[in-house]
Symmetry: D2
Subunit: 403 residues, 4 copies
């Protein structure tokens, strides 16, 4: 395939996942780091003509008054989540990218997130439709200026409170009409969906790496089809839930009876602070929790907690306690402790998703990219939660893609 | 298919795995327990015409001067590994089965195991070939007396010291000749292989649930082909290693770089006491260790220990510490603790293996039953160690079997 | 000292701690068990003329319609928390003791506990003062019938919701007057305090093994002084908190800076079900949490959770994650997992407390028995939370007692 | 007291503990770090006129051809064991101190350590007595040049193989005579003892922070008395063993019966590499293991392993599994995981020991400084292993010191 310049548009572009993704992309482009953590660099995908890192160019939206360099420095101060030397080497590029980051929107993101926003962002008065138009203008401006062939939008902003799909119109024309009406302030679509609409309406693929609503509403999914573009989500599967979807099939395939599965998560970055709000937390807990019943075929007692422990910073520590019964009813226990650096686990997946999505779009894949299920806690349109089988879906797509 | 009575011949019939298997079989035949832990009772295998538990009848060899009731009582005293009530209810059946257990052989089992044997077993003087003939007579007598259609032999005896395959003749005719010669005392095949020869030579399927040599030598595998029967092994995958072969693919599929994987196992049953002998332990450690490199495609630093801690009895506790690097070189850690009752994890697999093997033999499967790989730490003839994929091999065989 | 028959009056006498205490007492009296777990049987206390187990006789109050045999059977079904054989051997004694258990009160215990009560207990209409009088009559009847020299009352009932001390009168005469008045239904003292008043008013020592209010109000402490008797509490220190008060001094004495201490507790017995009520839970979390600041001299971020996981029964599992900084600011981590059988950890302490209290009363100790601090999460009148030093207080009291 | 310049002489001065101690001392002198981790800075010792950090000046012996800056850089590369910024700031001082580090001796240190030495150190031919004289000359030169009032020698070199005290002469005069004789090459005192003799013979206090022999032989202890100086050891108690001596008293004081205690340690620094040699490891395991029996008063089954896992570097990870029985024989379990940075835990203790020792010497303490027991796994001349009580010994000494 011909080479093209492709844009990556990160929503929440100065957050820690975005920062790690950007530092990582720069390091890859400069040849300062290897392939570790990058799924798209596995041997099984080497036959795919995926675009080299040099072809990508990054920008995005954010609501906070900080800078990429500041965010990166904080990550590197955080017990070595990022190598301080590397941050230093990337400083010039980070500053350049920072200039391309535009003001996002805090419409219906909930109070906790809104409180993080810069004053000028919070003061802005605009209708949802006006917001969409403004966000689109930002994206188009980037595409034009950098002469990009396509723009892949990845949602990385903090988790919004849950949203009841029931109140939404079922088709895009209806939703669009309501958005354009004055009275539709009532519609109260959260920011994540406004970004999704902004992107998809322009034909840009949209990936939701968070549990926020994003492109999940049927009307927005229809928009993706109408504009002949593609999307996927939601909620990146990086740590404890990844392990759950790897271990649960073992219990299922050995016919062991899981009686209870308790998972306690502690960490202390910005995400953790947002999740301190019970509203926002509830969105997260749902996607972390639902995988078990789906894999096991029955619902053991489960408990999932996520707590903000400031001293841990980006280091997510999870303790899971699995109580199960074996043959003749004998009760047994498995526990695991996961000590991972959340942003550094997420960042390579963000880059992988962009590469796979851009390639899929080129190949003509439209609508939901279900073959990306292994990347998500709650893969839209996919009932399979077993990570091994999800990965096989990806490998098989790659196989099919080359025939 | 027509129903037949089928024999289960357990080598090490009074050991804790065999005892749990026998108590379990009785409980299943009487309807005193459910399906938990039994792979062959999973929905995915329900279309197979597997024989009901009532069709099976059990006997075997052992070298120790104990009884099934004694063994079962010890397991039930062991912090509830077996329910004391259940052991009581099974007492009459256990006593009846005990009468069908014949004296095994201690030829080349190593000193530690030989020391466990009853005096009359240790005093016995016989050549390997005489031993094979005697073991065969025991099996045939059981088949005749119980009017069995077939006999599935499962090796459950304590782990023997490692054996160098290099010194063995490559074909069965050569091996048979050497065994029959006087001078072949030198051949020094360990007991597990003599049992394998005894079984296969009579056309009985042979399953090696231990890391001992068994039917692994090419000459014995040839014997299985010549007698048109089947076999598989070796070393049941029940606990820590099972988890390893479930977690390692996760690290591989996420392209995470495992730097070191340490696994410490502690338990205190008879097996543990035998593994206290460094000779016997080395056989075990090898099969526990080799799975990682195979799945990951490279060899991280590994350490596997198994130690005899008397107070734990049958409760195998394993701590695994996995040190890995993610994107941009960030080091992270995962640990797990497995607290399982070893014999109760193994027992249902023994019954599953018998059911699957008997069905496979009926269907005409001969030689190595590679589709059983998911049951073994070291599946003969199978390079795949990823448990999820091994399970898929089993499911696909089941699918094929019914076409 | 002369030997006397001494009564043990357990409030919550059919709960799991009481049941384990009673089974244990019977086993000790019959010589069916050893000294393990009994602090009063340590060599350092062997010179004290503590009463032998034979001198004690047990009875109590409860609100539930169950029986000691039932409670004991449940504990023994709970993965061997109690040996089933032992329960069987004690059956006759348990039945006899059961007959001596009288109906307790549910006045102001909160809805969750009240819901557990037998219908006749819930239907009962009585003023707090009438309740005190009735409880006293039960105790006196037992003392008389069994010709007891003294009665030690131990509170073991489920945790009540928290109570604000501020609203209470400061002296016993004032409190008594209010209790006797009609209008004092407003006083709403919780049941635990009514039991305390009932006991202390009769000169019986009162030990509060729970976080409920009990004898903590100054007016009730004054009552103990006026009646020349003694008391202590509160909240038995049996598991996770015990470990906390052992580890925290290590961090303090090494000048290590604890940044955060997270403790997650899961278990599934009746206590756990009561603690599922956020009201009741808050009483518990407070005593579990306050020890750290006291020992460290500063307040790290802490988090304590207690969750009801039914499958665990009496087996309390706690995971604690301690994040601390060492020299030059280097962050380090310690984690522990405690898997203890809650009732069996508490039961011997109940018996120890009775023995020590009865002896102290004989020696003339009145008011708060502060030397018992090591037994409690929140030792009344004692600022010291370091378990080692608390134990030394006990040892020194024993030393002094014999001079 | 009058202020004096005092020397710190580190044996193994470029090892990771020494490096962290030196970086720490520089940081303290410059005011770049706080008191965390420093026992001598606890409030309970604030009334003692301990010398300020500015009064100390450091030098020492080493056998390796590396530099302090190199060692410090390696520690800072080791997942942030040392802050890279701090290392950079200290660079000039480290280089200056490096110049004062003299060549040590490899006499009888065992092959594994000898293999680490610079060629010129290994090639050196000298008798033990000549070595002592040379080491003394180095120390005296430093004292003279820096006009030091006293020199405290701290042994931090890698663990030597174990040594049988039985073969040694019982008095200093006898030992000295043998050392001076030609034939006494046979005496084969390990290097750690030669350093001890060198120091004590000059009246310099000697602290052995390792499990090597050092000043333990009675003849050398006599030398300390003869020269009116003081010494203490051995084997710094920094991590897993510290926790053991904190937890074991809890089990003892609760009369819980420890059935087994398993401790697995993994780490990957230079010490770990030396401990890979079974000879050297055996010295270490002994001091780690003996504490339990002493505290509990009986000997549970124990297992201690230390393994070299390269990827962990200085981060010592220990998993301990404690299996104990409570009341009525109920078996329970406690596990802990310690993830500490070994050198950063040791370094402040080295500085504390120097401060306390220098003050004790000034006060006139001679011979064994038993009040320092809390710093050591195997405190010479002290039977008490309970860390809480050992700390109290230190606090009481401090109390007495000021009367």
């Amino acid at each position: 395939m011909a080479r093209h310049r492709v844009g990556i548009w990160l929503v929440g572009a100065r957050g820690s996942v975005a920062t790690a993704s950007i530092v990582g992309l720069v390091a890859l482009q400069k040849g300062w780091t290897g392939d570790v953590g990058l799924v798209s660099r596995l041997p099984v995908f080497q036959h795919l003509p995926l675009s080299p890192w040099q072809d990508f160019c990054v920008a995005g939206h954010d609501i906070r008054a900080t800078s990429l360099v500041e965010s990166a420095s904080q990550l590197s101060a955080d017990r070595g989540a990022l190598d301080p030397q590397l941050v230093k080497r990337c400083q010039r590029e980070l500053t350049a990218i920072d200039r391309r980051i535009c003001q996002g929107t805090v419409l219906h993101v909930g109070e906790t997130i809104a409180d993080l926003a810069a004053p000028e962002v919070r003061r802005r008065r605009e209708s949802p439709w006006e917001a969409v138009r403004r966000l689109q203008a930002d994206m188009q401006q980037f595409v034009k200026q950098e002469q990009l062939k396509q723009l892949v939008v990845v949602h990385l902003a903090s988790t919004e409170p849950p949203f009841d799909l029931g109140q939404l119109p079922a088709t895009w024309p209806d939703m669009e009409r309501m958005l354009q009406k004055r009275a539709t302030q009532r519609l109260s679509l959260p920011a994540s969906s406004l970004y999704a609409i902004a992107a998809l309406d322009l034909g840009y693929p949209y990936i939701n790496f968070t549990p926020s609503l994003g492109a999940a509403p049927p009307a927005i999914q229809q928009l993706a089809q109408l504009r002949e573009t593609c999307h996927m989500g939601c909620d990146g599967k990086t740590g404890e839930t990844l392990v759950k979807t790897v271990l649960a099939p073992m219990f299922a395939n050995r016919h062991l009876d899981v009686m209870s599965w308790v998972g306690h998560n502690i960490f202390g970055n910005m995400d953790a602070r947002v999740l301190d709000d019970p509203q926002n937390k509830s969105s997260k807990v749902v996607t972390k929790d639902r995988v078990l019943g789906s894999i096991l075929g029955y619902a053991p007692q489960t408990l999932v907690s996520i707590e903000n422990i400031a001293s841990l910073g980006d280091w997510k520590t999870a303790w899971d306690h699995i109580h199960f019964r074996g043959f003749l009813g004998t009760p047994m226990t498995m526990q695991f402790v996961w000590q991972g650096c959340d942003s550094l686990l997420a960042a390579p997946l963000v880059l992988d998703l962009v590469r796979f999505t851009w390639y899929a779009w080129q190949r003509g894949d439209r609508g939901l990219l279900t073959f990306l299920a292994s990347f998500f806690k709650h893969p839209l349109g996919v009932a399979e939660h077993d990570f091994g089988r999800q990965f096989q879906m990806l490998a098989e797509w790659a196989q099919r893609s080359t025939v």
